[in-house]
């Protein structure tokens, strides 16, 4: 823009500088019914949180282009995205929250604006910017650390045993809480001694080739570094149905980054993911995720927030693992012939699965399997929402939200839990002491044992 050559008599209006995205028109859809507020888990436990209706359509509609300040309450949102699934009028609520959060975090970068203030002689303003910035610094560093689990996981996996010992070592946790505000109430997830990708390489990659049935597995960080058993189950199940499984190059899906307003980081990772997944799609594969937050990110947040080549195609061709099998195989018939091991599960549907319309599929699928009892523990949020429950100042809220689910789990017949989401699993286990299974693991147990049994017999 070269608009400063002449007539400096009035200043140009700045175009939504920090976000480049004007979502005010999203408020056109809002008829103010407050259904979004009625499903917001944070608003029901945190008195200082003004709810998604304010954060989304109201705040955006009240915004003028020259307004750069975003109300700090946006950082209270846990990014569970339940408001999206609730809104009868399809207001793009989470897109509004994500964009506003990104702008808020961008505004926290204080050095540049402080220098600008100082240069223009506004000493007091510069000083106050620095003061506010420094006081936010701890939170920013903490959030950045939490958002970049991918990086932490990569380092920890080099020396998993040391990492496990160190991260849950009492003094370390005390320091992390005091210095960074990461709650010491929770145990860090342990890192696997062999990552999923290491296992994949070791086994020599795909065991079968099939140009007609090909899927690209987006394992995400957690199944790679922490629960490779889920990834292995995915591979076993899909191979048992005759799929060729690809494991393309990938980085973090971005979910924890969106939740912490780190859109730049998320975009960097998205570039790698979209490029390699789009390539797999071009090779005839569909993209499969086992983590419902990862599939959510690829399907919804990517096209809403970024403009990258192939991003729409990735969104349209991404599926959750069970969803995909159900749509492409006669899974119900396959399951009808099987029997489980007299197992009882308390199943929790992650909010991000709910948003993809997947909240009932595990219950529906397994309820007909002999010997398997699966009970839906209701539609409440687990409360952890990825990184939210790890923040010291949010821990109590996180547990208050989780209380409903804990109580339902205790009331359910099963003494073990089931969910698709790794952080919901942490919360379920933290609140009840149950061990938590991924539906793919159960599916692998039932189907593959059955198949090997029948082939043996």
């Amino acid at each position: 823009m070269s608009d400063t050559e002449d007539t400096p008599s009035f200043d140009p209006v700045t175009v939504f500088e920090s976000t480049e995205q004007d979502l005010r028109s999203g408020s056109d859809d809002c008829y103010k019914c407050s259904t979004c507020d009625s499903v917001c888990p944070v608003a029901s436990v945190d008195s200082s949180f003004p709810g998604p209706k304010f954060q989304g359509p109201e705040q955006w509609r009240l915004t003028r282009k020259e307004d750069t300040e975003i109300d700090d309450s946006i950082m209270g949102c846990s990014n569970c995205m339940r408001c999206d699934g609730a809104c009868p009028s399809s207001v793009p609520l989470s897109q509004m929250h994500n964009t506003a959060r990104g702008a808020y975090v961008e505004n926290q970068r204080f050095v540049r604006s402080a220098l600008a203030a100082l240069r223009s002689g506004e000493l007091r303003r510069g000083a106050s910017i620095v003061r506010d910035g420094v006081s936010d610094l701890r939170e920013r560093i903490r959030n950045r650390l939490l958002a970049n689990y991918y990086t932490a996981g990569r380092f920890a996996s080099k020396l998993p045993r040391v990492a496990n010992a160190f991260t849950n070592f009492g003094p370390t946790r005390w320091l992390l809480e005091r210095v960074l505000g990461i709650t010491s109430e929770r145990s860090f997830p342990s890192f696997a001694t062999q990552t999923f990708r290491e296992w994949w390489t070791e086994r020599g990659g795909a065991q079968l080739e099939n140009p007609d049935k090909r899927v690209a597995y987006f394992h995400g960080c957690y199944a790679n570094y922490n629960t490779p058993a889920v990834g292995k189950a995915m591979v076993r199940v899909f191979e048992s149905f005759g799929y060729e499984v690809l494991v393309p190059q990938q980085r973090c899906s971005g979910t924890p980054m969106f939740a912490n307003g780190r859109l730049d980081d998320a975009k960097r990772h998205a570039e790698t993911n979209v490029e390699s997944l789009a390539e797999a799609i071009a090779d005839g594969a569909d993209v499969i995720a086992s983590c419902t937050s990862c599939s959510m990110a690829l399907r919804q947040e990517y096209p809403e927030l970024f403009d990258l080549d192939g991003i729409d195609s990735v969104g349209e061709n991404t599926y959750e693992a069970l969803e995909y099998l159900r749509l492409n195989e006669d899974l119900e018939a396959a399951l009808a012939e099987t029997a489980g091991d007299a197992e009882e599960f308390a199943y929790h549907a992650p909010c991000h699965a709910r948003n993809q319309g997947l909240d009932r599929q595990a219950v529906e699928l397994f309820s007909d399997v002999d010997g398997v009892t699966i009970e839906d523990v209701g539609d409440s949020c687990s409360g952890i929402s990825g990184t939210y429950g790890w923040k010291a100042e949010k821990y109590d809220y996180s547990m208050a939200i989780g209380d409903t689910m804990f109580a339902e789990m205790e009331a359910a017949a099963g003494e073990q839990g089931m969910t698709e989401c790794p952080t919901c699993a942490m919360q379920m286990s933290h609140g009840t002491g149950y061990s938590i299974t991924h539906p793919l693991e159960l599916l692998a147990d039932i189907l593959i044992e059955e198949q090997s049994a029948s082939s043996n017999g």
Partner: protein, 555 residues
């Protein structure tokens, strides 16, 4: 009841309030009477453009020069009513290049600063501009809130001793031979005077009723041939642009988009009407505006509109001119001295003109009136800030002191200006009552203290009920604030008046989201509140014993 004043001003629009302020500041005793609430006539029914003068730079350079000079003054004295948005004159393929050049030259001749922009530069400022625009001229247009402006003028007049009487309709002019000596008014407000008449004696009467000037003139047998012309305006739900967008071509319907508070207002049409109180509000006008302006900003076509409203321009031309097309009638104002013109002393009428130059018009009329009544007074209206604009308040300060969320603080402080502290500093909980427009209880209570039970008067001061829900979720909350100072009956009547006013404009936006909104409003008010049937119920007493008396077996 008989009362006296020096100058009586009829009409509570921008002109009348401007005159009242001007005269009061010169020490003249002024009474202003308005049949409805302030701005009820033309002032409250315009698109809120503070002209840079660019629009008149080709056709009427005198007006253009007046506009830019008044534009500069109002940014100073009415900063809490003005948003310095800037404006663009945008040209599309097929629009006359010669006209574009004349626009530039005209602006330059009238001392209107301009900047020539390429299409890319214009789109960098307003990303939603159509892809085929060719170029644009940037001018210092601005958005102005006519309600706040008018109210601030009235408040200033009152501070200088003026009496401002709303809901007071002039039912007759008092004549003494061929001299106007006052007016008779009938009160319709709720302060116990409803239905009563009052005779106000005055040394001089100023007829500032604009499109209604002929009706006042007729009371004294003088002919004022106003040629009222209606113009439609459509209110969008949110802002598609933050700059005033004008189509750069000679006069025509639907050629301007004005960002106004949370919305954009599309304007307008120009059709002569017989009666400024009764004229058709037609659908083609709304369609034309959306369709034509979508050529400049394509997303308008799919965007939600909240309502449409019509204003009546008080156009006037000397009887011998006989212009056939109302768009050709001058926008200049005319001072009609009835002593010279009709041999009727004691009254001056003012017709024509536009909001941007209201202060200048008021100054000229006040000069004339002072001359007639023999007062030496100097106009100070250009140098003294209006109430609310004296000390622009820093936003940061506001947020910290009022504990409001930042967008709510921002909008509240922009509305209240230097009155923010006195209005918003409250030790009581101060919830937002109108969440669309971010209006808190404290601001509403302040407005109610000022204007009483007329919720439409409260609305124009605060913007409460002017957002997407159009009163669905706030009208009843606003009304309840009148209780217990006022009776249940008054609360209900006031609520109905507001609800009906909101409906009047909303009818013209009933498709898509606004139709859903209207239906939701209907469910809520008719079903959940049971207001509709209760309102019109034929038998007011219910036979309670015929209904379920509860389950005695317990629950």
């Amino acid at each position: 009841m008989d009362t006296k004043t020096e100058v009586l001003v009829i009409g509570g629009g921008s002109t009348g309030c401007g005159i009242a302020r001007d005269l009061a500041m010169r020490g003249v005793a002024v009474t202003l009477v308005e049949r409805g609430t302030l701005t009820d006539g033309t002032t409250g029914r315009m698109h809120g453009l503070l002209h840079s003068g660019g629009r008149y730079a080709v056709s009427d350079r005198e007006s253009a020069a007046e506009c830019i000079s008044e534009n500069r003054i109002l940014r100073e004295i009415a900063s809490h009513c003005v948003e310095p948005t800037g404006g663009l004159f945008v040209s599309k393929p097929g629009d006359s290049e010669e006209y574009f050049e004349r626009k530039l030259a005209g602006c330059s001749a009238c001392d209107i600063p301009t900047e020539l922009l390429s299409a890319e530069q214009a789109r960098a400022i307003e990303p939603y501009l159509a892809h085929d625009i060719e170029r644009a001229i940037r001018v210092p247009d601005a958005a102005i809130d006519p309600f706040r402006l008018c109210v601030a003028n009235a408040a200033a007049a009152r501070e200088h001793g003026a009496r401002i009487e709303t809901h007071a309709e002039v039912t007759d002019l008092l004549l003494d031979g061929d001299r106007v000596v006052g007016v008779e008014i009938t009160h319709s407000n709720d302060n116990g005077m409803t239905g009563s008449t009052e005779r106000i004696k005055a040394t001089h009467v100023v007829n500032a009723t604009g499109a209604w000037a002929g009706q006042i003139g007729a009371m004294a047998g003088v002919d004022i041939a106003v040629r009222p012309s209606k113009g439609a305006m459509t209110v969008m739900n949110c802002r598609q642009v933050d700059t005033v967008i004008n189509r750069c071509r000679p006069k025509g319907d639907a050629d301007i988009i004005v960002p106004h508070e949370t919305a954009c207002i599309l304007g307008t049409t120009d059709v002569e009407v017989d009666d400024p109180d009764a004229f058709p509000e037609t659908q083609w006008e709304v369609e034309t505006m959306i369709e034509t302006l979508s050529e400049l900003v394509p997303i308008l076509d799919e965007a939600r509109t909240l309502r449409s409203f019509w204003g009546v321009r008080p156009l006037y031309e000397p009887p011998e001119t006989k212009t056939s097309d109302p768009t050709d009638i001058t926008r200049q104002f005319f001072l009609l001295d009835h002593a010279d013109r009709d041999g009727l002393a004691g009254m001056t009428s003012i017709v024509g003109g536009k909001l941007t130059t209201y202060r200048l018009m008021a100054e000229r009329i006040s000069d004339h009136v002072c001359d007639r009544i023999g007062v030496d007074g100097v106009c100070r209206t250009a140098d003294v800030a209006l109430p609310g604009s004296e000390n622009p308040m820093h936003l940061q300060e506001a947020m910290e002191s009022f504990e409001l969320r930042s967008p709510i603080a921002r909008r509240s402080v922009q509305r209240l200006g230097s009155r923010s502290s006195s209005v918003l500093s409250t030790s009581d909980p101060n919830p937002v009552i109108c969440s669309c427009e971010a209006v808190t209880r404290a601001e509403l209570e302040d407005a109610i203290t000022e204007v009483g039970t007329d919720l439409n008067a409260v609305r124009i001061r605060t913007r409460a009920s002017m957002g997407n829900c159009q009163g669905c979720f706030c009208a009843h909350r606003m009304a309840a604030l009148l209780h217990p100072d006022h009776t249940v009956e008054t609360v209900r009547t006031s609520l109905e008046a507001l609800y009906e006013e909101r409906w009047r404009g909303q009818r013209h936006a009933l498709w898509g989201e606004q139709l859903s909104q209207a239906m939701l409003t209907r469910y809520l008010h008719a079903t959940t509140m049971n207001r509709a049937q209760s309102q019109t119920e034929s038998s007011p007493t219910v036979a309670f014993e015929r209904f379920d008396g509860g389950d005695e077996r317990g629950d």
